[in-house]
């Protein structure tokens, strides 16, 4: 395991109290593997990767749990030492974070000389290489960000994260706003980097299709917790947690005959309220009274689910395929 996240708790202090953005999340990243972190917005994906990278917002702090990188429990000093060199990060808003007054090339050179040990000359050569890697023409180094389309800006941001050849890349929604061909090309670049450099990766996305295409493992987060995790094939073909099933239904599928998307009604809970039991209760068509009492994680090595009705997963999965299931009131429970 290159990375182990163990019962991680990240709290933000806000005017309305403490928001438990990550509340006991555990997952692992096997060396050389790509792990997809999926879930709706606000469920703590960005917070989790920012915590690993050690770049939490001012009002955020690690309130519990551990992050272990290459066998070493991370503290502030180790995080600072490894940041960018061993662990790199493509922020969610990377696309809009380029400075409008400098050329993209000079910003890349800046990153290479400030974060790395490059001289300006070698940084320029490396910039051209990096641009090539992400499929941008070298000539575009001289352009300003506003001359780039959205897709080109995102490629540049990815080039910046890859600058120092890290061994673990945390990429937060790196292909989200990109068109499919560029998206596929970048996913293929990431895969080739994984293979060539034995790069390990955490790919934050809400796109199950991206996970299906690129990732080896998937970690599904809901309300600050991991509700299901395991090999991508297993989890997507036979999801065990109703939340994963709901996500799968809400997702457009180019090859399906169904021309109806089924939303999961409601929204994730407010994380500054005290929560107990399974956090999916208010939205889960399969919730039972016992679900509110506590949550249980079942399954061992490989495929894990945090649904207390896990023994009935097969029947629940069949029922979840029917759009009507998701229209019923949240108190609907299967007999």
């Amino acid at each position: 395991m290159i990375l182990e996240v163990d019962k991680l708790q990240i709290h933000y202090s806000t005017r309305s109290g403490v928001a438990r953005a990550v509340d006991g999340a555990s997952f692992v990243v096997p060396e050389g593997r790509i792990v997809g972190l999926v879930g709706e917005s606000g469920c703590g994906k960005t917070t989790a990767v920012r915590a690993i990278m050690g770049v939490l917002a001012e009002n955020g702090r690690q309130a519990g749990g551990r992050v272990v990188f290459k066998g070493q429990t991370m503290d502030e000093a180790t995080t600072r030492r490894l940041r960018w060199r061993d662990i790199a990060y493509v922020p969610q808003s990377a696309m809009s974070s380029l400075d409008p007054v400098y050329t993209v090339g000079s910003q890349l050179v800046e990153v290479l000389t400030k974060r790395g040990t490059h001289s300006r000359a070698s940084a320029r050569a490396r910039s051209a290489e990096l641009f090539d890697l992400v499929g941008l023409s070298e000539r575009r180094l001289a352009d300003y960000p506003h001359q780039f389309s959205g897709g080109m800006r995102q490629r540049a941001a990815i080039a910046m994260a890859l600058a120092l050849e890290p061994s673990l890349l945390l990429a937060d929604e790196p292909v989200t706003a990109l068109d499919v061909i560029v998206q596929r090309q970048i996913l293929d670049v990431l895969r080739s980097l994984q293979q060539r450099l034995h790069l390990s990766m955490v790919l934050v996305t809400h796109d199950i299709s991206v996970v299906a295409y690129l990732c080896d493992e998937v970690v599904v987060m809901y309300a600050g917790q991991v509700v299901e995790s395991g090999p991508v094939r297993e989890v997507l073909a036979r999801p065990r947690h109703p939340y994963t099933m709901g996500l799968r239904n809400a997702f457009p599928d180019l090859l399906s005959d169904a021309l109806e998307l089924v939303p999961i009604a409601g929204s994730p809970p407010d994380l500054s309220e005290p929560l107990s039991g399974c956090r999916f209760v208010p939205r889960c068509p399969f919730a039972q009274p016992a679900c509110s009492i506590d949550s249980v994680v079942t399954g061992s090595d490989g495929h894990r689910s945090a649904c207390r009705r896990d023994a009935e997963a097969d029947t629940i999965r069949t029922a979840a395929l029917d759009p009507r299931t998701w229209q019923r009131s949240s108190s609907f429970a299967m007999s």
Binding site: E40, S41, G42, G135, L136, S137, R139, Q147, S149, G150, G151, M152, T176, A177, L178, D179, V180, I181, V182, Q183, R184, Q185, L187, D188, H206, D207, I208, S209, V210, A212, Y213, V232, R233, L236, A237, G246, L247, R248, A250, F251, P252, D253, L254, L255, L259, E260, L261, V262, P263, I264, S267
Partner: protein, 329 residues
């Protein structure tokens, strides 16, 4: 049905900063964002425009809303040439044609309350103040923001992406438009929220009888919204057909690549490798002839010299490729 928007050979060039050698040569390079686009949007239709980043989708949307002027060609709205829509007519047009932005997080002024954001188009259009509250409330109702008055005093950062996108839509709908251009309306949203917004887009189009143009790069999404899809490449329409045809039987080599690139949520459905390489070439210097030829696996000599015109190949299906047209006229 009659066309609401008609585009004839529309061209849009943007001047670009000249490189030193271009200065020396006295060249005046331009990005050919749109390079001869012709199509109609039927009244009440929902048409999708798909294509790679930079192919001109947003520019096309902005032209249809008269937010920019074309360099060449003609656009008309409800039979009136856009060039003649000025003064009072322009104000009327602004009420009828609305834009839903690409990114709800950028679409609203962060310093304005939600109420202010939605009422603003009414103020700009000079609508009687007495009508504002009712109109705003009905716009919020349309986008299913329950307890809408609860949102009035909030600021954009206090809303979730899905709520924000509903507010952005309320703002676009508050004047009761007949034409809507939605530029990547859901690309920034979550799956589950997105499913709800897509249903909402379908619903408002049906109940308000809207004509809509959806700009997207995501064929998988477009399938849920539009009966017809136009595929663009480097400022040109390369294929125009019913969406299911585009998805199931793409004919242009570029469309075939687009379809192949779409990931699907099933790891057992292996996706074919991309049939094309490289990137969209620099829009300043597109290849001669067919601008797709440097990436096309089927390119032939003729493709370098002759630009393929968009021609009908089957009922309601048009393609701009020499493979799909007779070799000699």
């Amino acid at each position: 049905m009659a066309a609401l928007v008609e585009l004839r050979d529309v061209v849009k060039h943007f001047p670009v900063t000249r490189s030193l050698s271009e200065l020396v040569r006295g060249a005046h390079p331009a990005v050919r964002a749109l390079d001869g686009v012709t199509f109609d949007v039927g009244d009440g239709d929902a048409v999708a425009i798909v294509g790679e980043s930079g192919c001109g989708k947003t520019t096309l949307g902005r032209l249809m809303l008269k937010l920019v002027e074309p360099t060449g060609g003609a656009i008309s709205f409800a039979g009136a040439p856009m060039a003649e829509i000025t003064g009072e007519k322009l104000r009327a047009f602004r009420r009828q044609a609305q834009l839903v932005f690409q990114n709800p997080f950028d679409a609203l002024n962060p310093r304005f309350t939600i109420y202010r954001a939605v009422v603003e188009p009414l103020i700009n259009a000079g609508i009687d103040k007495a009508e504002h509250a009712d109109r705003v409330a009905s716009a919020f109702r349309r986008v299913h923001l329950a307890d809408f008055d609860r949102y009035y005093d909030r600021y954009p950062h206090q809303l979730s992406g899905g709520q924000l996108q509903r507010v952005v839509m309320a703002r676009a709908l508050v004047l009761g438009p007949r034409f809507l251009v939605a530029d990547e309306p859901v690309s920034m949203l979550d799956v589950s929220v997105r499913a709800g917004i897509l249903a909402l887009l379908r619903e408002v189009r049906e109940t308000m009888g809207l004509t809509a143009v959806y700009i997207s790069h995501d064929l998988a999404l477009v399938r849920y919204l539009c009966e017809r899809t136009l595929v663009m490449y480097l400022g040109r329409v390369v294929e125009d057909a019913p969406t299911e045809e585009i998805v199931r039987r793409p004919r242009h080599p570029y469309t075939q690549a687009l379809v192949a690139a779409v990931p699907v949520p099933d790891p057992d459905q292996s996706r074919a490798p991309l049939p094309i390489k490289g990137n969209v070439p620099d829009a300043r210097e597109p290849p001669s002839g067919c601008s797709f030829r440097d990436r096309c696996p089927h390119a032939m000599p003729r493709c370098a010299t002759e630009t393929p015109a968009l021609k009908p190949v089957a009922g309601g299906h048009q393609v701009a490729c020499h493979l799909d047209t007779p070799t000699s006229p």
